[in-house]
């Protein structure tokens, strides 16, 4: 059984790579898939924090590479979902501690035992990016509807296309605010997809739940009320090959619809 290795990347920092990794990984595990996550952001790790596993890390990817432990020893099992494992990055080293071939080998080994291997990529296009992409056969490019993020995403897509082994790359538009798009103050999702001419895998709305879930160390997909959590769930379904329509995150256009929606929300909440 050979699973697929999916790298989550963006080029620009702060667009939500790690949040996306944590949520997609957790969502896939909730669907019953066996998932391993690799944090390649050595020296600035955060994935463990988002999953609430920071107190369980004993061995890191650097220990594996430097043969201080076996790969299986370094995998930290999630406290809720036994299908989910994390291979954490070392906080006390830097990106040069690992090279691309070593990561490729780790991905290759994990692929044997897991359905999905999610690789959280660091920001930038230097060594860290090269390492993360090395073993991947699929990529998800995360961007936000801002010009700077789109430009960086364009660069990343260019690099991914040139890379051998990455068969498929898809775009995830994060932190979308329908209200601003309506007011023409933000690029719409269509604009982004058109600019980058890339296959879309999902649209994630801006959500306050993300902040609280990050602080709690519990990914948003575990929260049924979170709109972003639902959107990430849909993305995970699309990864497994399911056909899921895009989540309705549109704000109503006229005043009557607005009132209708407002009351609908009140009934729900």
């Amino acid at each position: 059984m050979a699973g697929s290795v999916i790298v989550i990347t963006s080029g620009k920092g702060g667009v939500g790579k790690t949040t996306t990794s944590a949520n997609i990984g957790t969502a896939l595990a909730l669907m019953g898939k066996k998932v391993a996550m690799i944090d390649t952001d050595i020296g600035l790790r955060n994935l463990d924090l988002l999953l609430g596993l920071e107190n369980r890390i004993v061995y890191t990817i650097v220990d594996v590479v430097e043969n201080r432990c076996k790969l299986k020893q370094a995998l930290v099992k999630d406290k809720k979902n036994p299908n989910l494992c994390l291979l954490a990055a070392a906080q006390t080293r830097d990106k040069s501690a690992v090279d691309a071939d070593q990561l490729k080998e780790i991905c290759g080994q994990l692929k044997e035992d897991f359905d999905y291997v999610i690789v959280d990529c660091p920001a930038g296009i230097e060594q860290g990016f090269q390492n993360a992409v090395a073993g991947a056969n699929e990529a998800i490019v995360v961007t936000t509807p801002e010009m700077s993020a789109i430009r960086d995403a364009d660069r990343i897509i260019g690099l991914l296309e040139a890379k051998e082994g990455v068969e498929r790359h898809r775009l995830l538009v994060n932190r979308v605010r329908p209200k601003l798009i309506k007011l023409n103050n933000m690029l719409s999702v269509d604009d982004v997809v058109e600019t980058l001419s890339c296959e879309l895998i999902g649209v994630i709305p801006e959500d306050e739940h993300i902040t609280t879930s990050t602080n709690k160390g519990d990914p948003a997909v575990n929260d049924n009320k979170s709109l972003a959590g639902m959107a990430y769930m849909n993305v995970a379904k699309r990864i497994t090959g399911e056909e899921v329509p895009l989540l309705d995150i549109d704000v109503p256009s006229n005043i009557f619809e607005k009132i209708k929606k407002f009351f609908k929300k009140k009934e729900q909440g």
């Binding site: 020296g43 600035l44 609430g52 920071e54 107190n55 369980r56 890390i57 004993v58 406290k79 906080q91 006390t92 602080n215 709690k216 160390g217």
Partner: protein, 366 residues
């Protein structure tokens, strides 16, 4: 005596009144004893009324009161009695007299021994420590002589002593009232609120201040399930160490005066002292102990070469992981917000290994 309220001044070696006054004022000046009752040991020296009055006024001027005079001289006894000062004979004399009189007295002394032990229990002290304290204070305090005369040596097993004395305790209850002069000093009520044992004597201008402070510590399991389970243990803070001394070279100590931030690693062969915080993501490894004068929130590994006697202590122990020797423990999952420490009040704690498990001990002030 061994009490906060009383203060024994031994002037048995002094011959002249001037010497007594000189030593007494020295004793009272050196240590703050205001509000305490003074027990004056005078032995055989004779004091007339005016001399006694001047001593009394001297004591009063230091905020104390002359409560008891211990003397063998009958004239001095009379003078003291005239001045409404309580008089008693030295303990050796009393023992001699009582041994001569009848057999029942054995019980009186064993009762004394019993009460001394009761005092220790009230204090919440570890008994082994008490025996040590007793041995140290043998020259100064009457406990040991009482114990000896009661047929109990300080080295006896605690259970044995308890059995001996508790059997006689009921009988000896009645004797307490008859035996006034001993009760004056060794009244059990005095000891009820006693916090520490202190024996201070002034002899030949030398002050032997033997103070034994024991610290009650809380045993707290550093496990996620048992985080709320705290139970009190009578552990002498300084005495529970193993028979072998902890191998830690005090000269080989790394002293850091900065905050360790995420990603920073501090590794040292000996002990480590950090004046500052250890943020989450930082790591401290030491061959010996780790002491953090601040918040410890990173990973701490004391005795990383296998020294299981190493300790980790911090003003606020909030470490993500604690490792001592080859033992490992992690912070419970509930407290998952490492960057926010909601405590303006520090709770100094010490982690050490007990039965292959890392246990946190609260460091109390008392």
């Amino acid at each position: 005596m061994y009490n906060n309220e009383f203060f024994v001044v031994d002037m048995a070696s002094c011959t002249s009144t001037g010497e007594i006054i000189n030593n007494l004022s020295l004793a009272l000046e050196t240590l703050n004893h205001s509000g305490k009752k003074i027990v004056l040991k005078l032995n055989e020296s004779y004091l007339n009324q005016s001399q006694m009055l001047s001593i009394q006024s001297l004591i009063t001027s230091y905020g104390c009161s002359l409560d008891t005079v211990e003397t063998t001289n009958e004239d001095t006894q009379k003078v003291a009695e005239n001045m409404n000062i309580f008089v008693q004979k030295p303990i050796e004399k009393r023992i001699e007299e009582k041994y001569e009189s009848n057999d029942n007295d054995f019980e009186k002394f064993s009762m004394d021994a019993n009460r001394n032990i009761t005092v220790k229990e009230v204090n919440g002290l570890h008994f082994e420590a008490d025996l040590d304290a007793i041995q140290k204070q043998q020259d100064n305090i009457d406990i040991s002589s009482d114990l000896k005369n009661a047929g109990i040596s300080p080295n006896d097993d605690f259970e044995e002593i308890e059995q001996k004395v508790s059997a006689q305790y009921a009988q000896s209850q009645d004797l307490i009232n008859q035996n006034d002069d001993i009760d004056r000093i060794e009244n059990p009520e005095m000891f009820e609120n006693q916090q520490s044992t202190s024996a201070i004597t002034a002899e030949n201008k030398e002050f032997d201040n033997t103070e034994k402070n024991t610290i009650g510590v809380y045993k707290k399991a550093y496990k996620e399930e048992n985080i709320e389970e705290e139970h009190f243990e009578d552990v002498d803070f300084y005495e529970t160490a193993t028979d072998e001394p902890v191998v830690s070279d005090t000269k080989n100590t790394t002293y850091i005066n900065q905050t360790l931030r995420s990603g920073q690693v501090l590794e040292a062969e000996g002990n480590v002292v950090i004046i500052g915080d250890c943020h989450p993501g930082s790591e401290v490894r030491a061959g010996g102990d780790i002491t953090v004068w601040g918040v410890l929130s990173g990973i701490a590994h004391a005795g990383y070469k296998g020294n299981i006697d190493a300790k980790v202590r911090a003003l606020k122990l909030n470490a993500i992981q604690l490792r001592i020797g080859n033992c490992y423990s992690r912070r419970p999952d509930g407290t998952n917000i490492p960057y926010i420490i909601r405590s303006s009040v520090f709770t100094p704690e010490e982690a050490r290994v007990v039965d292959d498990e890392i246990i946190l001990f609260k460091i109390n002030q008392n």
